[in-house]
């Protein structure tokens, strides 16, 4: 082994939420380790406050400097702390989205990770801080913690994300088993093309996880609101529609122009779900000038990134192919100007759309304000259904952990490729499995060998 490698032990800084995951007015996050000073400086841009004094500070997002929350922080200096290490306690407002946002930022800092069950106590022990542990009830707390996690784990069986992750974990283990099979048993009856087969299946898995991560941006949905883009040809009544929607809503948050003139954004509170409506530039066949072109490009980007697409169609005009091409799996159709045609004409339009498989349709007259309530109702049902795990699913901390784990897993998998030595690919697959370990249980070589011996006839 390389002699110059420094074996000095340098352990991670850990954090945990000290509050329960339900709703509460204030949530407390405790951070312990060598990086706490740095974390404070990065998040607040301020000098460290005096130890053991409360301080009100703004916490800033690391990436874009927006404010995460106004928080009360207390700094405890080593060694007179629970763990014996430096500890930073942050008290934030109780919304899940704030907690989510803060955790995401903490995870961006190198060497910082979420604490494992009992890890604060373990550190207290290793740093000879047992006096705290002697206090009554600590053991009960730890026991409760594991019990709580057990319950959580049981709950999650029905939860969307964790089920999916478990299935992927199973597939990955099998792929690794087959991959290891061809490494460890070169002279046995392992199919010759197994390496290629595993690699191609990994490519599929990468695509699935990538799609899942991009579709299931639950954290983003909660923090920023559900993004709804209003799309359609020019002059179909998009702007009238957004005006009607904004009028209906009593709690208008803001109405601002986008960075270009062509995307208008309105934030609306729909039965306590924050929803952001974007009015996009009308899509046209021919483009007159450069400004219009820019507007359309901008609109295309908004359409691509939105969670829901409201496609507005003018029922007085014929349906064009190019507008129907905009329909995708996140589209709700809005037929506008129903006050201008008779019922018979309307039925024929509906029939035509139904024949094309388009069934999620609302009818409005944006000008007169008819049907807007129904539209908003439909939208609410749609959002609640599609993002049900966000609104009714796992607690926010668990979900963030799942997403972080899945992202890590994804990043390791992406390193796998044909040109690399197989033992390095195997290492990447193993690391990707390990990153799911917190959720699915530790990677166990015996389970892997079970698969190898079941699927291949080993033993010459």
């Amino acid at each position: 082994m390389d002699k110059r490698i420094n074996y000095k032990i340098n352990i991670d800084t850990i954090f945990a939420s000290a509050s329960s995951s339900g709703l509460s007015a204030i949530k407390t996050i405790r951070i312990s380790g060598t990086k706490t000073k740095k974390i404070f400086k990065i998040l607040t841009n301020r000098k460290l406050p005096k130890a053991r004094f409360c301080k009100l500070v703004n916490l800033y997002d690391i990436k874009n400097s927006s404010i995460i929350d106004k928080a009360m922080v207390v700094w405890f200096s080593s060694p007179n702390t629970y763990t014996g290490e430096n500890i930073l306690e942050i008290n934030i407002h109780g919304g899940n989205s704030v907690l989510d946002h803060l955790i995401e930022n903490l995870l961006l800092i190198d060497g910082v990770r979420e604490a494992k069950p009992g890890e604060f106590t373990k550190r207290a022990f290793t740093n000879n801080k047992m006096d705290f542990l002697e206090a009554e009830g600590v053991m009960d707390l730890i026991n409760a913690e594991t019990k709580f996690q057990k319950n959580l784990a049981l709950q999650q069986v029905n939860g969307n994300l964790s089920t999916v992750i478990k299935v992927w974990n199973g597939r990955l283990l099998k792929l690794l088993a087959h991959y290891e099979g061809q490494i460890d048993f070169p002279e046995d009856e392992v199919p010759e093309n197994i390496e290629r087969r595993v690699l191609s299946q990994i490519t599929d898995l990468i695509k699935e996880i990538e799609f899942f991560l991009s579709e299931n941006k639950s954290g983003d949905v909660i923090r920023n609101g559900v993004e709804v883009a209003i799309v359609g040809n020019t002059n179909v009544g998009k702007s009238s529609l957004i005006n009607q929607i904004v009028k209906k809503d009593i709690a208008i948050v803001s109405k601002t122009s986008g960075t270009t003139r062509d995307v208008i954004v309105s934030k609306v509170n729909l039965s306590n779900i924050p929803v952001i409506f974007s009015d996009t530039a009308g899509l046209k066949m021919s483009v007159r000038n450069n400004i219009e072109k820019q507007g359309i490009n901008k609109a295309k980007k908004v359409i691509k990134n939105c969670h829901v697409k409201l496609l507005v169609i003018d029922v007085t005009k014929n349906l064009t192919k190019h507008i129907l091409r905009l329909v995708c799996n996140k589209t709700l159709l809005v037929l506008n100007k129903i006050d201008l045609i008779n019922k018979k004409k309307l039925y024929s339009v509906i029939k035509e759309l139904n024949e094309k498989g388009l069934k999620k349709i609302s009818f409005v007259s944006a000008k007169k304000g008819n049907g807007i309530n129904t539209l908003l109702n439909d939208l609410e049902i749609y959002i609640k259904h599609k993002y049900k795990d966000v609104f009714f699913g796992d607690p926010v901390l668990t979900r963030t952990r799942h997403r972080t784990a899945l992202k890590k897993c994804f990043n390791f998998l992406k390193k796998v490729n044909n040109d690399k030595d197989p033992e390095l690919n195997a290492e990447d697959i193993r690391l990707s499995l390990n990153s799911l370990g917190n959720i699915t249980g530790k990677y166990d070589v015996e389970k892997l060998l079970d698969i190898v011996f079941k699927d291949f006839c080993i033993g010459k």
């Binding site: 082994m1 390389d2 002699k3 490698i5 074996y7 032990i9 340098n10 352990i11 494992k116 069950p117 009992g118 106590t121 373990k122 022990f125 290793t126 000879n128 047992m130 542990l133 002697e134 053991m139 730890i142 026991n143 594991t146 290891e180 490494i183 460890d184 048993f185 070169p186 002279e187 009856e189 040109d419 030595d421 197989p422 033992e423 390095l424 195997a426 290492e427 193993r430 690391l431 070589v445 015996e446 892997l448 060998l449 011996f453 006839c457 080993i458 033993g459 010459k460």
Partner: protein, 627 residues
């Protein structure tokens, strides 16, 4: 050495058994400087290969190199007796290449005997050990066949498959340790008397075939590698003549014969109840479990240069003799095969290895070490690896030295023993590279760099190896420093015709070798001085470069492991006094007796809460002692 020990006789370490574990243990104890006595039932069977005549392979080859790095004997013996050397996975990266050699059984035994005869502190006698002389749960000596007591300080027991061994061929059952050798019963009783938990395992061998009765005409030939790499660090080349193996296949007819008679096989008739290894199934198992396969390959391995016996690797069986003959003769090339010895399955007792510590000393009896198949493993290499560790520790105990334990992060030997004593076995344990979580670090090509310095420290390395190793290490460091400084920018390289990304990064020659399309030859054309670097040193530096990113990550993991291992658990900790431990956890801990935090966390069923409880208890005790 203490004077009052003289009364115990001259032998300090006694090794029982002359198989692969026993030979390695005896040689190691002797190298360290302890008077050692090896007791075997039959001197002629010392170094016997009772199963297939080959050594090494994936994982196993790694073990051989590691034993060699501690100056063990298995690598040197196979280098003097190997008749077909092959590097498995040669097209894959260095961490998963495995050297394997077919052996001439006679030459191998000769080589082992020759090496052992040169050990100055070693004496070998022929006798049967019927019991152990134990007082106050400590070893005092062994008791031989005529009730003769031979005193000693430590014992390494390596009885292989001889404990209550029973051979099965069809309906026949013969008590035996190997074909033609009687089993051992006395020691099984000894273990029972001291409440050791014993288990039963099964393994098998194929029938042997007379070479002259085989028709090789239509069979695929497999030659030795053109460029042979020896196992031992001490050897530069192999002098033994190389001969080929041949490959043939079972067919539908073979499978039909076996299927029809499956009930007559000892495994399927219910005669054998114990577990056999999944990676070494009998031909009966292969046909029952993989019904969709129309053929299974068989390697026809010669047992030696002057031997007529062929070992058909792949058809181990416990079917009746007549049926063995029938199915063998249904195979292409074996139509007229003459069986010289029938295949059989053997059942034997093993001692649950959870009752051992990492030095392979038993938890129940002081100074008693167990190594090899008795601990539930299989394979010569696995046995030898345990033998060398048990032998070293048995000798160090006599010399009052500190224990010699290898961690999972340091050696495959460490993985093997950690698995055995903390996870236990459910089938005969065999090493695979996938068992080693630090596989990229634990390469067979750097076994010497990893382990020889440790061996030098405890005094188990002979002078010639020590000198050779120190020379290599010095040269390696010199070259490493020299060529690390020697860097080139992409623009620089372009002048020599090497095209890489113009990223401005300075690279040394080993960084350049990370690129798949750049090889050593090309670089030699540009910088002729590289030619002077010896191959092993060049390869080591190149591998370090290729693996760098991955190895750095593994080293990070190792730091966590080390921290847990540094937290020692007192040897005689009374777990009963620790509050709130469940009965299951309590039983597990008392049985396994973990020695550090890392081991506790690897025992199945021990919860994080239990771990905290234990830590808390130990710490309180520590403070009391301090007062």
């Amino acid at each position: 050495m203490r004077k009052n020990n003289v009364s115990r006789g001259t032998n300090k370490v006694i090794v029982v058994g002359g198989g692969h574990a026993g030979c390695e243990a005896a040689a190691a104890a002797s190298r360290i400087g302890c008077k050692t006595l090896l007791i075997t039932n039959n001197k002629n069977k010392i170094g016997e290969m009772s199963c297939n005549p080959s050594i090494g392979g994936l994982g196993k080859g790694h073990l051989v190199r590691e034993i060699d790095a501690l100056d063990g004997i298995i690598a040197r013996a196979i280098d003097e007796s190997g008749i077909q050397f092959r590097m498995l996975n040669a097209s894959k990266g260095p961490a998963v290449r495995g050297l394997r050699a077919q052996a001439d059984r006679i030459l191998y035994k000769k080589a082992i005997k020759n090496i052992l005869s040169k050990e100055k502190n070693l004496k070998i006698i022929e006798d049967e050990v019927i019991d152990l002389d134990i007082k106050n749960n400590s070893i005092c000596g062994v008791i031989l066949s005529k009730k003769k007591i031979v005193p000693c300080e430590t014992i390494v027991l390596t009885t292989g498959t001889f404990l209550n061994g029973i051979i099965h061929i069809g309906n026949e059952t013969i008590p035996a340790g190997r074909v033609g050798e009687k089993a051992t019963y006395g020691l099984s009783k000894t273990f029972k008397k001291y409440n050791f938990k014993l288990g039963r395992m099964k393994t098998g061998t194929p029938p042997r075939i007379d070479q002259n009765s085989i028709n090789y005409k239509n069979l695929k030939k497999q030659d030795s590698d053109k460029k042979i790499i020896p196992f031992s660090f001490m050897n530069k080349s192999i002098k033994v003549k190389q001969i080929p193996c041949y490959i043939t296949y079972t067919n539908k007819k073979t499978h039909k014969i076996i299927e029809k008679n499956i009930a007559k096989s000892a495994i399927y008739s219910g005669n054998i109840k114990s577990i056999g290894p999944r990676y070494c199934p009998s031909i009966e198992d292969k046909i029952v479990k993989f019904k969709d396969k129309n053929q299974h390959h068989i390697f026809l391995e010669p047992e030696g240069l002057n031997s007529n016996v062929i070992y058909p690797n792949g058809v181990s069986t416990s079917l009746p003799k007549k049926i063995q003959e029938n199915f063998i003769r249904s195979i292409i090339g074996l139509e007229d095969a003459k069986i010289t010895q029938y295949g059989y399955a053997i059942e034997y007792d093993y001692v649950d290895p959870l009752q051992l510590s990492n030095t392979l000393e038993t938890n129940k009896i002081n100074n008693l070490y167990l190594a090899g198949q008795i601990n539930g493993t299989t394979g010569y290499e696995e046995a030898a690896a345990q033998g060398i560790i048990a032998g070293i520790n048995a000798a160090l105990k006599v010399k009052k030295g500190t224990e010699f334990v290898l961690s999972r992060s340091e050696a495959y030997i460490g993985v093997l023993i950690d698995d055995l004593v903390n996870k236990g076995v459910t089938e005969p344990y065999r090493m695979f590279t996938s068992r080693a979580e630090y596989r990229l670090l634990l390469r067979s090509d750097n076994a010497d760099l990893r382990l020889t310095p440790k061996g030098i420290k405890i005094g188990c390395i002979n002078k010639d190896r020590k000198e050779k190793f120190n020379k290599k290490q010095a040269l390696l460091e010199k070259i490493d420093i020299k060529y690390k400084k020697n860097t080139f920018t992409p623009n620089n390289l372009l002048k020599y015709g090497i095209k890489i990304n113009l990223d401005g990064k300075k690279r040394n020659i080993f960084d350049l070798l990370v690129f798949k399309d750049i090889n050593r030859k090309e670089l030699e054309n540009i910088w002729p001085e590289i030619k002077k670097i010896p191959n092993d040193i060049f390869d080591e530096l190149e591998t370090r470069s290729v693996y760098r990113g991955y190895v750095e990550r593994q080293l990070q993991d190792i730091k966590d492991l080390k921290k847990d291992e540094e937290l020692k658990i007192p040897k005689n900790l009374n777990y009963k006094k620790i509050p709130n431990l469940t009965k299951e956890v309590l039983e597990k801990l008392n049985y396994v007796k973990p020695r550090n935090l890392g081991e506790i966390t690897r025992i199945s069923g021990v919860t994080p809460a239990a771990v905290i409880n234990i830590l808390r208890f130990i710490n309180r005790k520590k403070r009391k002692w301090a007062v």
